[in-house]
């Protein structure tokens, strides 16, 4: 007698309704190659789809704001190197200008031009690393190699100018630590000339790359309204279609003298963020070339600010007045009036802000550092939901954050 064979999946065949799936929690980081530092993301997954993403930050918290309250203004300059450590020169400049606003001090044109050149070179170097790392995240090694070859040339220029490759500590309140060396501007110009075709080569490896586009187009879309609500700034905000660039909107350090365009994205996806960064490097080269062409003669530090900028070393050794002046600045710090200022500069990652509350004297009473990476990361829980795990990697790469700045 034939018996009907019961197939094992008979129950499933007759079952009504959806499959019940179990949520899985996955901790990505704090030491994961695609989290670019010590970021940890606590994720909840439904299969491969992210249902919840909670960034855990603070692994690199050093208490920079507390430290700032305990030292003179110039002593804090090296700490600013370690905020966005991919663009220390831009941080140095933002900090120096913030303190100079407090003192109501305008530095000479030559000093402004030097700062603009260094800040734009820092932007190129930061964006190159951002692109290279983004390339690796999406499976393109070559971009990283090309980008780092160029960064090495930049580091050589930085070393010649500041004495350090990485932690430059170049600015002082009221000026910079030293004038540009003989022939340095020409070498920067040469770098720019040879860099432009290489940049096109690097971008050509990604812009129409099928794999790269599959990983980035329509991934991690941040609408305009969300971008503003979460306080995004810099390339991430511009990729969402908001033409906010503090160099144009609130010009500082003589940026109003330079001719450059502000690239703006359309959809606010990872691909747009990549395109905006690529175009920004071309614009930075434009600014650097203009600054070198019209490089002003004259002082490279605020000569009249005798209580703020230390006198030249040879004078200190030979003249009593300058010796006292130098002694007072070193021991008591650059003297500031009481009051409060807030200054934001357009850094590679976004608006780096310093809010300084002074009671007078050489030490700030309170200093808040507004870190663009901190704000840019806060949108992560919103933008990751509904994406695949592999998309999270692409989103992280496209947001281009630095944990040194986020955690402070």
């Amino acid at each position: 007698m034939a018996t009907e064979f019961a197939y094992p999946d008979a129950a499933a065949k007759n079952a009504t309704g959806e499959f019940e799936t179990e949520k899985m929690s996955l901790s990505m980081g704090p030491s994961h190659p695609s989290t670019h530092g010590v970021l940890r993301i606590q994720m909840e997954l439904d299969g491969e789809v992210v249902t919840k993403a909670e960034p855990v930050i603070g692994y690199l918290h050093r208490g920079d704001e507390k430290i700032a309250e305990n030292m003179t203004y110039n002593q804090f300059v090296p700490y600013t190197d370690r905020l966005d450590y991919l663009a220390p020169l831009a941080n140095n400049m933002a900090y120096a200008i913030a303190v100079e606003r407090l003192a109501n001090l305008e530095v000479p044109e030559r000093c402004q031009a030097i700062r603009v050149i260094t800040a734009e070179l820092a932007r190129i170097s930061a964006h190159l690393l951002g692109l290279g790392a983004f390339g690796i995240d999406t499976g393109a090694w070559t971009v990283f190699m090309y980008a780092f070859t160029e960064r090495e040339k930049l580091y050589k220029l930085f070393e010649e100018l500041t004495g350090a490759r990485f932690t430059t500590s170049y600015t002082r309140i009221g000026g910079v630590s030293r004038d540009v060396p003989e022939g340095w501007n020409g070498r920067v110009d040469e770098f720019c000339d040879q860099f432009l075709p290489i940049l096109e080569e690097i971008l050509a490896m990604l812009t129409r790359n099928k794999i790269f586009m599959d990983r980035t187009v329509d991934v991690g879309v941040i609408p305009k309204e969300d971008a503003i609500a979460y306080g995004l700034t810099g390339p991430n905000l511009r990729a969402s279609g908001v033409p906010m660039d503090l160099r144009k909107d609130k010009p500082y350090s003589g940026y109003e003298k330079y001719d450059f365009d502000v690239p703006v994205g359309k959809t606010g996806d990872s691909y747009d963020r990549y395109l905006v960064r690529g175009e920004e490097m071309r614009q930075s080269v434009r600014i650097v070339k203009q600054a070198i062409k019209n490089f002003p003669e004259g002082d490279w530090y605020a000569k009249d600010a005798k209580k703020i900028f230390a006198p030249p070393k040879d004078k200190v050794m030979s003249s009593m007045e300058e010796l006292i002046q130098n002694f007072m600045i070193v021991t008591e710090g650059p003297q500031m009036p009481a009051g409060e200022v807030y200054f934001e500069a357009e850094n590679p990652k976004g608006a780096l802000g310093f809010y300084i509350v002074s009671k007078g004297g050489g030490v700030p009473y309170r200093m808040k550092i507004r870190a663009p990476s901190f704000c840019n990361l806060s949108i992560l829980p919103k933008v990751c939901v509904g994406m695949m795990v592999s998309d999270v990697v692409s989103i992280l790469g496209s947001l281009d954050f630095v944990m040194g700045e986020c955690d402070r």
Binding site: I57, G58, H61, G63, E65, K66, I67, E69, N70, M71, T72, Q75, R101, L102, N104, D226, I228, A229, Y230, G231, L232, T233, V242, M244, D249, K250, V330, T331, E332, G333, P337, G339, E340, V341, Y342, F343, E344, A351, G353, Y355, V357, K359, G360, G361, G362, V363, Y365, R366, K368, R370, F374, C375, L377, S378, I379, K382, D407, R408
Partner: protein, 210 residues
């Protein structure tokens, strides 16, 4: 820009008579009482186009000051290209200051308020998820308060199991005050001069009693 933002202050004062102008060296600044903060911020965002909450932080005016804690907001207008600073005195006890949360207006205020809570212990009323962000959960102090020493204070490790297994607490920074410290605003030269602090103690020789 300054004239248009001055209009902002007077326009706000018509609606909220308790708003006063605040001393500032750069941008327009106002003092807003805590009860008016939400409504005033909404007016700034919707009527005066200050759409971007760029920064939110606090100042500690040290123990005994009244008010001790002040929350400071910086708003930026992406269309008018101007900043405004809004400050509000915290209400509540000195040990548990309170301020209204603006997370309903700007989603980005979430992390800023968590950080301010983490560093100063200011409780933001209406924040749905107020917990530490930079320090670990369970950390007992508020490091940016003026009564917290720069070197830190010894605490237990965050995980009790790890603490029990290792017997190691999180120790304070090895040099109280760092190698160079200048005092705030004092004109006494020997006090104000940055100097090497007493570093004569190390792992082998005991730290002297403070």
């Amino acid at each position: 820009m300054s004239s248009s933002t001055a209009d902002v202050t007077s326009a706000l004062q018509e609606k909220f008579p308790n708003i006063t102008a605040r001393d500032s060296l750069d941008h327009e600044a106002i003092n807003v009482p805590a009860v008016d903060v939400l409504a005033a911020m909404q007016a700034l965002r919707d009527e005066h186009s200050f759409d971007l909450l760029t920064d939110l932080t606090a100042i500690d005016w040290a123990e005994g000051a009244d008010p001790r804690f002040v929350v400071v907001y910086h708003l930026y207008s992406t269309t008018q290209h101007s900043y405004i600073r809004v400050a509000t005195n915290c209400t509540g006890e000195e040990e548990s200051p309170m301020a209204p949360s603006v997370t309903s207006l700007w989603a980005g205020a979430d992390w800023h308020e968590r950080e301010t809570y983490d560093m100063f212990g200011i409780i933001f009323e209406g924040h749905s998820d107020l917990r530490r962000i930079l320090m670990w959960e369970g950390y007992p102090y508020y490091p940016l308060r003026k009564d917290f020493p720069l070197a830190g204070i010894e605490t237990e490790l965050p995980d009790p199991e790890v603490a029990a297994a290792t017997g190691t607490p999180v120790i304070a920074a090895p040099m109280m005050g760092g190698p160079f410290v200048a005092s705030t605003g004092e004109m006494n030269m020997s006090e104000a001069e940055p100097k090497a602090k007493d570093e004569s103690w190390s792992e082998s020789s005991e730290k002297p009693e403070a």
